[in-house]
Structure formats: C-alpha cells, structure tokens
C-alpha cells in the first residue's frame, strides 16, 4: 500500500508525466469530435510525425544537457542538406538505398564537425556558430537542389511510409534510437559525464572528464541524427524540399523542454522527448479537427507550450 502510493506520487512528479497526460487528453478530445472513428489512423500518423520530432529532439537534448547557451540551431538546415544530397545521390535507384543513407549520415557528421570547430577554434557561442553555419548548409542545399524534386527509390519510400505489425516503421526507428539514447544517458559513463558537464563545467573539467571530446561528440551526434531525420523525412514525403526542416527548429527545442529536461542543462530525460513530440502533433491535429484556422491554431499551440512549462516549473521548484 505504502509503496504503491509512493510510486504513484513519484510518477506524477516525473517531468514527462504531464506531457503524456496532455497528449492523451488531446487525443481523446480529437476522438470525441469524430465519435471514435479514425482513432487508429490518428495514432499511426501521430507516431510517424512524432518520430521525426523525437529523433532531432534527442540530438538537441544531448546538446542542451551540456549547459546554458548550448543549442543547435543548424538542425533544420542539416536535415534539408542531408535529405537533398542523399536523394540526389540515389537518384531513385533502389540499389543505392544504403549508400544513400551513408551519404545522409556523412552530411550530418560533416555538419557536426564544422559546428564544433567553429565553437572550439573560433570560440563562437554555440547559438551563433550553429546559426551562421546553418546559412551555409542552406545555401549548399539550394545550390544542389536547383528546384528539382528527385523521388526516393520506391523501396525506400515504401519503408518510410509503411508499418510493421501495425506500428509505422519510422516510429520503430525513433523508438529504437530513444532506447539507445536512454541507455547512453542513464546507464553509461558517457551519459554521467554529459550531465556532470551541464551541472558544473569547471568541476567536470577538474575531475578529469575530457570536456572537449564530449562537446565534439555531442554536437556531431546531434547533427548525424538530424541527417538521418532528413533522409527519412525526404523519403517519407516523396522528395526533399528546401523548407522541409523549417518547423523542426522550434519543435526540436520545444519537445526537449515539454519533455521536462532542464533548459539550464545537466538534467535530461528521454521518455519526455517522445511525450513532447506526440503532444506537439496531437495538439495541432486536435485544433485542426475542430476546424480552427491557422491563426488560432498557432496561438493555442503557443499558449499550451507556455502553460505546460509554467506548470512543470512549479512542480520542480526553482533551481
């Protein structure tokens, strides 16, 4: 009895708990309107789109964990560049699917290295470094795209839009990455080190943590995840578009915070990323199905984000 109430009381205090509660509420509110019809389709679409947000969100979370001021604003441009170049490389040829994936991941890796070098060698604050770099990535994407829309190979497009045992393939990828990320963060030395840096960089450095190596690997890891998302998203939507990454700038930061990771760094959690990602999609589809226009939808999304953050901050107390 005692342990049950204890575990209950710790569950609702978990920061990610409210993201799932709100997601369920949004889902229920949508189904209320359709009188229960289309629930399966909605859930499947939610998991598909949430997967894209979750994968970039996980990369962003690792960076944010490093401490205040650390954020990657080049994620949208990296996604666009990786999607554009990998689809151009494959040119619709099914035999090039895996090499195409390697191209996308390679673009991400290159972008991550470039971001890190700007931060390290030129000592530019990460926000400005990744922002300036994103302009360059975007330009390369515009230059190589030339307004053509190259279709992904059929097999790849089938995979990205398909499902296994009723679960969208993209969601399976996203969940797998989340599980790996959870292990890295919660169970590995690497994860401990990242949190330690976010909590007190000076103490972390003095205790012998290879701080620069951690920064490099985190920024590169996030960019590689952005590259992967660009590859999957371009395959899912039948081709790369120059603005395909645009909305993921805000989303990647929003899911981290709605999920309950501390924006001040040093404290993060993976389940919350998926909760936040599902919530972001379900809110929009709920407002859509109630027939609200784009303006009202945007306002409601903003108000809901602020409300959740304000409510969560009250639970944690000030730090």
């Amino acid at each position: 009895m005692n342990t049950l109430s204890q575990s209950l009381s710790t569950t609702w205090r978990r920061p990610w708990f409210w993201a799932y509660v709100a997601s369920t509420a949004a889902f229920a509110a949508t189904l209320l309107l359709t009188e229960g019809r289309g629930g399966g389709e909605l859930l499947s679409a939610a998991f598909t789109f949430a997967a894209f947000s979750a994968i970039v969100g996980i990369g962003q979370m690792f960076i944010i964990t490093l401490g205040p001021g650390n954020v990657d604003l080049s994620i949208p441009a990296t996604m666009t560049l990786a999607g554009t170049l990998s689809l151009k490389f494959m040119g619709g040829d099914a035999s090039l699917i895996l090499p195409g994936l390697a191209v996308a991941l390679g673009v991400g890796f290159g972008a991550g290295v470039f971001n890190y070098l700007l931060i390290r060698l030129l000592r530019i604050p990460p926000i400005i470094a990744t922002l300036s770099a994103s302009f360059i990535y975007q330009s390369i994407a515009i230059w190589s795209n030339r307004g053509l829309r190259i279709k992904p190979p059929q097999a790849l497009s089938d995979f990205a839009t398909g499902a296994t045992l009723g679960v969208p393939n993209v969601a399976l990828v996203g969940i797998a990455i989340a599980i790996v990320a959870w292990f890295i963060l919660e169970r590995s030395l690497y994860g401990r080190w990242i949190s330690a840096i976010g909590q007190n960089m000076r103490a972390a450095r003095l205790s012998g943590i290879p701080v620069q190596l951690m920064f490099a690997s985190t920024f590169i890891g996030a960019a590689v995840l952005a590259g992967l998302t660009g590859y999957l998203l371009a395959s899912f939507s039948g081709g790369a578009a120059l603005n395909m990454g645009a909305e993921y700038l805000l989303i990647s930061i929003a899911v981290v915070v709605i999920g309950g990771s501390s924006i001040a760094g040093g404290n993060s959690n993976v389940p919350g990323i998926w909760g936040g990602a599902l919530l972001m999609f379900l809110i929009v589809s709920m407002l859509n199905s109630y027939g609200l226009g784009a303006g009202v939808r945007l306002i409601m999304t903003g108000v809901i984000i602020i409300t959740i953050v304000a409510a969560a901050a009250g639970k944690e107390g000030s730090r």
């Binding site: 604003l73 770099a133 330009s139 515009i142």
Partner: protein
C-alpha cells in the same frame, strides 16, 4: 574583453565591410548609394536593441521576429484605419511583454522556451489580423521614413539617434545600471532591496517598446505588411547584439555596439546583392561574413584577456 576593446570590433567590421563595398562599387559612395545600402537598417537596429534588452538580463528572446511581424501587421491595418485602436493594441502588446518578463522571473521559467511559445502566439495573431499580404502604411510614418535630411541619409541619422538615446538610457542612467545589474548579479541587486520581478518586467517592456518601433518603421519602408515579413529578425537581432560586443550572460551589452552590429548585418545583405552573387549563395555568404567577423573577435579577446568566447 574590456569596455574599450568591446566597441572596436563592431566599428572595424563595419568599416572594413563599407570599404569593400566602396571598392567594388565606387558609386555607392554617395547620398543615394548610402541610402540604398542602409535602406532596411533602421528596423533591424531597433529589433537588435529590443533583443539586447532581453540579453541584458541574461535571457534570450526567440520571438522578436514574429513580434515585429505582428506589429507590422497591426501598423498596416489598425494603426492606419483606426489609429486609436491601433495604439491601444500596440500598448497592450508592450504590457504583455512586461508581464512575460515578470512571469519568467516569478515562476523561474526558461526564457528561451517561453519566448518560443510566444513566437507561436504573435505569429498566430499576425495571421488573424492579416491573412494575406497587404494593408497600407499610415501616411505619417511613410513621410518620416522617407524624409531626406541634408548631407546624411535618413537611415544613418536615425541609427545615430537610436544609438545615442539607448546609450544614455542603458549606460548612463540609474535605471540602466540597475537593469544591467540584474544580468550581472541578480542576487546582489535583490539583496540591496530591489524587486527583481519589476526590473525584469521593465527590461522586457523596453524590449516590447523597441520591437513596436521596429515594426512601425518597417512598414514605413515597405508600405505594406504580411505575417512573415520580419521572421529573420530573430536571428539577425541575436547576431547583431553579439557582433556588437555583447555577451549572453553577465549584463555585458553595448547599445552603440548593437546598432553598429545591426548596420553591419544590413550592409552585408546589401553588399552581397551589389556583388551580383548568385542568389543561391547569398544566405551562405551572409553566414560566412558572420563567421569571419566573429573570428576577428577572437583576436581582440586574446589580446585583452586570456579567456573569452564560449565552451
């Protein structure tokens, strides 16, 4: 970086860029040429000052761009058709900014997320007010923005005025010192008896005020508005503050530097179109210029102190 060197970087980067423009296009060295080059500098400078107010208290505002767009939409519709309602809406939006500042402090919220959320709200309001591009600029602001003072173009006169006034307000007045103190050492300011929530509300209110000025001036130049007109101002304003020698923490900002940083960014845009660079590469070149200028900053910070920059 100490104060003396802080202002040198934006001055030099602006000077070098201006020299490059004059070298490439000597005809730009005229009243008309300068007017063209700095055409959009005034709204960018005002938006940068708005961002600076927030960075001054150790926060960051990701909603500047959507807020300026919202103001532009109000200016091109209400302020033109029913000036009284327009003024009321803009006044209310400044109050909303101030309230946000208080809320962020009282609930200890991360500003980056709250302003991110607000960017959706302002964007939504802008779409509601002006669903498709249009509207018209009120005559008085159109006249003000196109006035042709003797010798020096309007954009430069206005920039000097903005820099001088905000310098007096932030660097020379008691209020300004107090506000910078909030960024420098919040606890010390609180212990000496000031209410931090009120001060933060003040800083955010000032940001809202300059955001409103930016939007109104922008419409004066463009004569119409749309909901996405100033989205890039968010990134431009952050870059402008940093370029101007400001830092993300510690209340270390420089209004004169911020205005110069904004002018440099505005000039970089004009410079690239002057060079007839392929449109594909214009954004990329802007990024490269930004990186270049910040790389130069490294030399300054090395000279003055062993440490500096990020990470």
């Amino acid at each position: 970086m100490n104060g003396k060197f802080r202002i040198l970087l934006p001055v030099i980067s602006l000077g070098v860029l201006l020299a490059a423009v004059f070298y490439l296009q000597p005809r730009a060295m005229s009243y008309f040429g300068l007017n063209l080059l700095f055409n959009l500098a005034v709204p960018i400078a005002l938006a940068t000052i708005a961002q600076m107010m927030i960075i001054m208290v150790n926060d960051i505002d990701l909603s500047v761009g959507t807020f300026v767009s919202f103001v532009a939409c109000v200016t091109a519709t209400f302020l033109n058709d029913a000036p009284l309602i327009g003024v009321l809406i803009l006044g209310a939006s400044i109050l909303a900014y101030a309230a946000l500042g208080a809320l962020i402090h009282l609930r200890q919220l991360p500003a980056i997320v709250v302003t991110l959320g607000m960017s959706f709200v302002w964007g939504g309001l802008a779409v509601l007010i002006l669903p498709s591009p249009g509207g018209a600029a009120p005559g008085w602001i159109r006249t003000l923005m196109t006035v042709k003072p003797p010798l020096v173009p309007m954009a430069i006169v206005a920039s000097v005025l903005i820099a001088a006034l905000t310098h007096l307000l932030i660097m020379r007045s008691a209020t300004g010192t107090l506000l910078r103190g909030v960024g420098g050492n919040t606890k010390a300011v609180a212990r000496s008896g000031w209410e931090i929530a009120k001060l933060k509300a003040g800083a955010y209110g000032l940001a809202g005020f300059f955001g409103v000025l930016s939007g109104v001036c922008l419409v004066g130049l463009t004569t119409s508005a749309d909901a996405n007109i100033a989205l890039r101002y968010t990134l431009l304003s952050i870059a402008g503050v940093i370029l101007g020698g400001g830092e993300f923490t510690g209340g270390r900002v420089s209004p004169v530097g911020a205005v110069l940083g904004a002018l440099t960014l505005a000039l970089a845009g004009s410079f690239l179109s002057f060079m007839r660079l392929s449109p594909d590469w214009q954004i990329g070149a802007q990024g490269a210029i930004l990186i270049l200028v910040l790389a130069v900053r490294l030399i300054f910070s090395r000279k003055t102190s062993g440490q500096g920059g990020a990470a």
